[in-house]
Symmetry: C2
């Protein structure tokens, strides 16, 4: 990429996943200047941190951006922005807690901000995406589970111990009969996650004989993704799955509004790819159930960050967090 | 009061009520230095603002505190901290909107902060009361209705248009059959307000023949206050009313924790006078229903601000708001 068309300052974003570690230099409007990737699996977290530091330093030197990096952001599962540690991560090859920001700061001599994926997504939307210019919004990440990042008055809420914004675990009557992995029943994520979509589909398929192209799929191929594809092709039952999910999200959003008075609620992640199939019933249910103060005042948007780079861009935006 | 034992800086708090306007000079730890009061009823809001300004200036001069007042805070119904205006107040003698902060700033030459009662209560608790030193807490004001002030990461949440923290209007299954004044059903305030206490009592009295001292009261004397008195005296039915209300508040608090990860939830206002009769079942229900991340991590407290001065102290604390 021609560095003439880049907008300083630059940050480094790191997406620490269970399988791979992806990292990139990103400019202030979300252009990826240079990127790299290596397998996360290493004998110890120390070896991983050594390698990441070396690779980042080499990448920065190659880009001719020495002394021009404003900070490093790391998005990681169970990462706590308050402590800078990874706490009790089950899908990383090393034992927790891991003092991530401290380990990288001492190696790189740069300020390192860590956060969980949902908070990184929220800051990513504010820095480069659908929330640019907004000071009050909620990002709901609809993936394997449901996470959230809440920005209120321009601040990302972290809370007493870094656990603010666990909106996937707010409970609702529409999910009262659904068991959540957290041990409780009724959590939003039992409906609005990829797993929730699958569960809703199975229930609808079982409770009637209505024809659906989904009935022809081998059981192993039924997933949120195949339901999404069927819905786009016009399958009525698949569309009803998203209609139900959207209405649930709209009711949930109505309650969330009473908390944060947001300008916008932004959907992010795999389940959000259904787009208007989800947003239209969500808007409708919100209007029907929100307190008059919020009705017609909240915009419902899809993530404005490129899907394939969302994790790395979210991480790269973390140095811009204002507490 | 001996000014030697006072702690600067000083602020002026104004409690603008439908009937009276109370105001006071308050020091940084909540001592009231001097106070005054006059009837709110005046021909126009301009006449009221002129009088308030004159009275404040005279009071400050008498106290020998000229040039030592750091700001003025006004707590008022429907006051919006974002706009500095009173919007659509139904219990003031003048038409809304009223540009309150602007009117007083031009007269007094001091910075004037306005806020609604619940937000003033939250800042009051942080400045002088039960939330001293806390950066993450929620104050629930249990009065005629239920209001709230949410402090997260040291900031009072205001939201896009000043309507963050309307937790009295979050809906719950335990109130699904109760009509709220907002036009919706299920709002927390239909249970946890003084009116909610009365409704619960009437339902319990009607649904059984259980003996209760409340049955002997003239209907006109049945109120949250008389139920509170009966409960303190050991009346089993009255105690069950508070037990039910406390359990509802505990379930609500469990959902609120998922937003804000608070260190404490503080009860304020008339209904909170029931104390442990409300707090014990609240704690129990919270433990039973909160996500594991919050269980045993949230303290439930009663307001630490003297009841009779709570409104004026809340107002006096408003200049300390950090956004």
């Amino acid at each position: 990429m021609d560095t003439e068309s880049l907008y300083p300052p630059f940050t480094v974003g790191v997406d620490l996943g269970g399988t791979t570690t992806a990292f990139a230099i990103v400019d202030s409007v979300g252009h990826i200047v240079r990127r790299g990737v290596f397998p996360t699996e290493t004998p110890t977290v120390k070896v991983w941190a050594d390698r990441l530091s070396r690779e980042i330093e080499a990448m920065v030197a190659e880009a001719g951006l020495d002394d021009q990096i404003d900070g490093v952001g790391i998005g990681a599962p169970c990462a706590n922005a308050v402590t800078g540690c990874i706490e009790a991560a089950t899908d990383l090859p090393w034992p927790s807690p891991i003092p991530l920001s401290q380990m990288l700061e001492s190696r790189l001599g740069l300020h390192v901000t860590v956060s969980n994926d949902a908070n990184a997504a929220a800051i990513g939307e504010m820095t480069y995406g659908a929330a640019a210019g907004l000071r009050n919004f909620i990002v709901l990440t609809l993936g394997t589970g449901v996470g959230s990042g809440i920005v209120c008055d321009g601040h990302l809420l972290t809370g007493a111990r870094g656990f603010a914004g666990e909106l996937g675990h707010v409970t609702f009557p529409f999910a009262a009969d659904r068991q959540c992995g957290c041990g409780r029943k009724g959590c939003l994520q039992t409906v609005a996650s990829a797993k929730g979509i699958l569960e809703t589909t199975l229930r609808m398929l079982e409770s009637s004989d209505r024809p659906s192209s989904l009935r022809d799929l081998p059981v192993g191929e039924l997933s949120a993704k195949t339901v999404d594809i069927a819905a786009r092709r016009g399958d009525a039952l698949a569309r009803e799955v998203y209609d139900f999910t959207g209405r649930c999200l709209g009711q949930a959003a109505a309650e969330f509004a009473s908390f944060a008075d947001p300008e916008a609620i932004i959907l992010f992640g795999g389940v959000a790819r259904a787009g208007d199939l989800l947003l239209d019933p969500m808007r409708e249910a919100f209007s029907a159930s929100a307190l008059h103060l919020y009705r017609d005042r909240v915009r419902f948007l899809l993530s404005g960050v490129r899907d394939s780079d969302a994790a790395i861009l979210g991480a790269a935006s973390l140095p811009y967090i204002k507490y």
